[in-house]
Subunit: 215 residues, 2 copies
C-alpha cells in the first residue's frame, strides 16, 4: 500500500515513514492498523467519488497524529493540534502552501466531537471513513479495547441497558452505544458510506441482541 | 442475587462479601461481572441438571479469586492457588471439611489450561459456564479488552488471517480465535451447555465474517 500512496500523492518515502512512526503506540483504537483501514477505504471511496487522492491520503495519514486519551480535557483539541502539525510534516515535500492548507482543513474537520461541517469532498470522505471504522465488528473491538484502557466497567451490573437512568459512558462502556455509536450512521455524508454504514449498524444490533441474551 | 445465593448455600453474608472484594479489580475479563454472569447461568444449569447448588455456587464465587495475568508463567497455577484459598474463605461457615474439599476440587478442575477431567456434575457445570462466558458477544468483548490489556495488536497487518504462518496469539489477538476460542464449544460437557455453545459459536462466525468484510 505504501507505494500506491506515494505514487498517488506528493508524499516522499521519508514523510510517509515519519508520519507512520507517530502511530507506533499501544492504543488499539488509534494505531497504525486504524490508519491502514482508513487508507484502504479512502482509496476505495475516493476513487469511486472522484476525490483528490493527493489531498485525501495525507489527510488520512495525519488525522490522528496527535492522539489525546479519552477523558482528557484536551481531547477536543486533538484535531486542531493534528492539523497544525501538517505544515511541519509536509514541509519537505512538493506540496504547495495552498495544498497543505487544504490537507490541514480536512484533518481539522474530521473530529467527531468538534462537529464541524465538511467543506470539501475529501473532508466528507475522511469524516465518513473515520465513523465507519468505529462501527461494525471493528467498532466493537475498538470499543471493548478502549473500555479496558479507560478501566471502565463493561456495563452497570444492576441496570446494563440503562433503563430509567442517565447514560454514563465513562463509567459503563455499554452506554457508549446510546451516547455515540448507534448515532454514527445517521451522520454519514456520502451515499457510498451510508450503504456500508447500514451494514455495520446492522451488525451493532446483532451484537447487542446477542449480548442481551447472554447477560 | 446475593440473597438467593446465601439461602441456597452455607455461605454467610460475611463470607460472600469477603469473596466479592477479591473481584474489585480492573480486569474486564475476570471481574465481578464475570462472576455474576456465571452465577446466573450456574443457577440456571445447576437447577436444570439437579446439581448441588450449595457446592456449585461457592465454587463459582471462588474459581477466579487468584487472578494471574495472561502471559505470566504462574498463570497455569491460578486454579490451584484459588482452590487452596477455599478452606480459608469457607472456614467460618457451616461447610464441613468434606464439603470444602469438594468445592476446592471443583475450583481446581475449572482451569482451561490445566485441562483436568471434571470429577463431579458441579465441576462439569463450572467448566461449561466458564467456557461459555469466553464465547459469543461477551466473549468478543472480553477478548478485545484482554488484547488491549496485553498490548497486543488486533491482527497482523500483513496477514490478518494467519495464512501460511504460525499462530501467535500473544502478538496478534485475532489468532486467539484459532488457538482457543473456536475450540471451546467442542470441549463442553453438558447437553444444555452445548446447546448454548452452538449459538455463541455461531455468533463468533458472524463476527469473524463481518470483520473479514471490514479489514
Amino acid at each position: 500500500m505504501k507505494n500506491y500512496i506515494i505514487s498517488n500523492s506528493k508524499l516522499t518515502e521519508d514523510s510517509f515513514e515519519t508520519i507512520k512512526n507517530f502511530y507506533l503506540n499501544d492504543d488499539p483504537a488509534h494505531d497504525w492498523l486504524h490508519i491502514q483501514r482508513l487508507l484502504k477505504q479512502g482509496i476505495d471511496f475516493g476513487t469511486h467519488l472522484g476525490a483528490s487522492l493527493s489531498i485525501l491520503l495525507p489527510a488520512i495519514l495525519i488525522h490522528d497524529i496527535i492522539n489525546i486519551p479519552k477523558g482528557s480535557r484536551l481531547r477536543s483539541k486533538a484535531s486542531l493540534l493534528s492539523a497544525n502539525k501538517t505544515k511541519e510534516l509536509l514541509g519537505k515535500t512538493d506540496y504547495t502552501d495552498k495544498e497543505i492548507e487544504s490537507i490541514a482543513q480536512v484533518v481539522l474537520e474530521h473530529s467527531y466531537s468538534a462537529n464541524l461541517p465538511a467543506t470539501s469532498l475529501e473532508s466528507e470522505i475522511l469524516q465518513d471513513i473515520d465513523k465507519l471504522d468505529a462501527m461494525g465488528a471493528i467498532g466493537v473491538m475498538r470499543w471493548a479495547a478502549t473500555s479496558a484502557k479507560m478501566k471502565s466497567k463493561f456495563y452497570d451490573e444492576d441496570n446494563p441497558w440503562a433503563e430509567g437512568r442517565e447514560l454514563n459512558d465513562f463509567q459503563f462502556a455499554l452506554d457508549h452505544f446510546e451516547t455515540k455509536l448507534l448515532k454514527l450512521e445517521g451522520r454519514l455524508n456520502t451515499e457510498i458510506a451510508k450503504k456500508e454504514g447500514q451494514k455495520r449498524l446492522q451488525f451493532f444490533y446483532e451484537f447487542l441482541s446477542q449480548l442481551k441474551a447472554e447477560i
